[in-house]
């Protein structure tokens, strides 16, 4: 679910870059406040490789198989580091696999980083008291927010003379087609965090 090059007008692409840069500056500010930010670089990089590799594996979600987005999981395990991790991941995906493109990088950054931060927030607020609920909401909430952002950007970006009704119809189908993905990611995050809480709590970001 990457926005490709050339779909949206150039002003939106530039605005996307500005928003991503803003998010990045905020995240870097929060990261600098941590005790030893440099020491966390390898940790963030290694976890990012796992997310990256896992998103390349197709997971069965009947009736088809899909590629996971994992933005929610990145938020829960990386906290504010999810923003640089998402941007690095998107850049590499654009360069290595041609998913997304370089003009759309900023917009894609917003589509993935905001949901990651949302998941982080949900996990911090709800996950403390009801971990399973928090995990499920973080996983599927991130997918839903990403879908919403994606749909909004495409709607706003397509040429105005197009038939609005048909456009909305197409987007509705697109969103409905992704409901199983949202559920699947919720289940994945829930199961995964149960495992981590049981055997390796250090992986859950607190801060």
């Amino acid at each position: 679910m990457h926005l490709p090059d050339g779909i949206v007008p150039v002003e939106m692409a530039l605005a996307g870059y500005a928003c991503s840069a803003g998010l990045m500056a905020l995240a870097l500010h929060r990261i600098k406040a941590r005790p030893d930010p440099q020491a966390e670089i390898p940790r963030v990089a290694m976890l990012t490789t796992v997310f990256f590799a896992a998103s390349l594996v197709a997971v069965p979600v009947p009736p088809t198989s899909v590629h996971l987005m994992l933005a929610g999981l990145m938020g829960v395990t990386l906290g504010w580091f999810a923003v640089p991790a998402v941007l690095v991941g998107l850049f590499l995906q654009a360069v290595l696999f041609g998913h997304g493109g370089i003009t759309a990088l900023g917009l894609n950054g917003v589509v993935f980083a905001l949901p990651a931060l949302l998941a982080f927030g949900i996990w911090q607020q709800i996950g403390r008291r009801w971990p399973d609920l928090g995990a499920f909401l973080a996983g599927s909430g991130a997918v839903i927010l990403a879908l919403a952002l994606f749909a909004t950007i495409v709607l706003a970006g397509l040429p105005a003379e197009l038939d609005a009704a048909a456009e909305r119809m197409a987007l509705r189908i697109f969103v409905l087609a992704h409901v199983p993905l949202a559920l699947a990611e919720g289940v994945i995050v829930l199961t995964l965090l149960r495992v981590l809480r049981r055997v390796e709590r250090r992986l859950l970001y607190h801060g």
Binding site: P4, P9, L47, A53, V88, E161, A166, A170, T191
Partner: protein, 236 residues
């Protein structure tokens, strides 16, 4: 590999400038000039086979747009084929979007695909990108293959012992991902020790050579070309 033409930093700048120049095209009239520019770059890169191969995905997407948009939107009906109506506005929009998409992808691939990704990241670093981002990208690239292979072997191990198929495999996937994360965490501790022991401070990337004359020439030409495309788009 980057000995021919501009270095990685300049290539990144050129790609960004041209891509945004093309992205700002609003009319169909300038598209032929854009195509000439893109095809010229692809031929000059000497990598046209690889560029074509990697363009298959975007080409499919463009084809999809060209089928869906003319049928689904617009008011001026051009032709009727049974229940389908081909419409002018949709056709124009599709041609514009597909044209921009394909030319931007062709230009970026022609400029960047032949460079090793590590050099690209080093190039980003010399564009004053925060060191944290560049180091993150370098380490991620460095370990991506190994982690992918590990994950693949773990999937094999699951399969050999009769792991479920279909939706019942979801929890297993989550477990595999969890083990992957745990191993990544342990590994990151060792990598950090290794980095610190050899005096990590100024970043991982080797400093790139300073910009040379051909880098400056390339960037200037790209800027002029991009502005030219925008100007032509206005006047045509």
């Amino acid at each position: 590999m980057a000995e021919r033409g501009p270095g990685p930093t300049a290539r990144l700048v050129i790609a960004l400038v041209l891509a945004f120049g093309i992205a700002s095209v609003q009319g169909l009239a300038v598209l032929p000039y854009v195509f000439v520019l893109a095809i010229g770059l692809v031929l000059a890169s000497g990598q046209w086979r690889m560029v074509l191969r990697r363009m298959r995905g975007p080409a499919l997407l463009a084809l999809g747009l060209c089928v869906v948009l003319p049928l689904g939107s617009g008011t001026t009906v051009l032709a009727e084929l049974g229940p389908f109506r081909l419409r002018l506005e949709g056709l124009e929009a599709a041609a514009l979007i597909a044209g921009r998409l394909l030319s931007i992808v062709a230009v970026t691939l022609a400029l960047l695909a032949a460079l090793p990704p590590f050099q690209l990241v080093a190039g980003l670093r010399s564009l004053r990108l925060p060191a944290l981002l560049a180091d993150l990208a370098l380490l991620t690239l460095r370990y991506l293959d190994e982690v992918t292979a590990e994950l693949r072997r773990a999937h094999l191990a699951r399969q050999i012992r009769g792991g479920h198929r279909g939706w019942r495999a979801l929890p297993d996937h989550a477990t595999l991902l969890a083990t992957g994360l745990i191993r990544a965490q342990a590994r990151s501790e060792r990598v950090w020790a290794a980095m610190r022991l050899r005096g990590y401070g100024a970043g991982l990337a080797m400093p790139l050579a300073r910009l040379r004359a051909r880098d400056w020439i390339g960037m200037s030409v790209a800027l002029i070309a991009a502005l030219g495309v925008i100007w032509l788009d206005r006047v045509l």
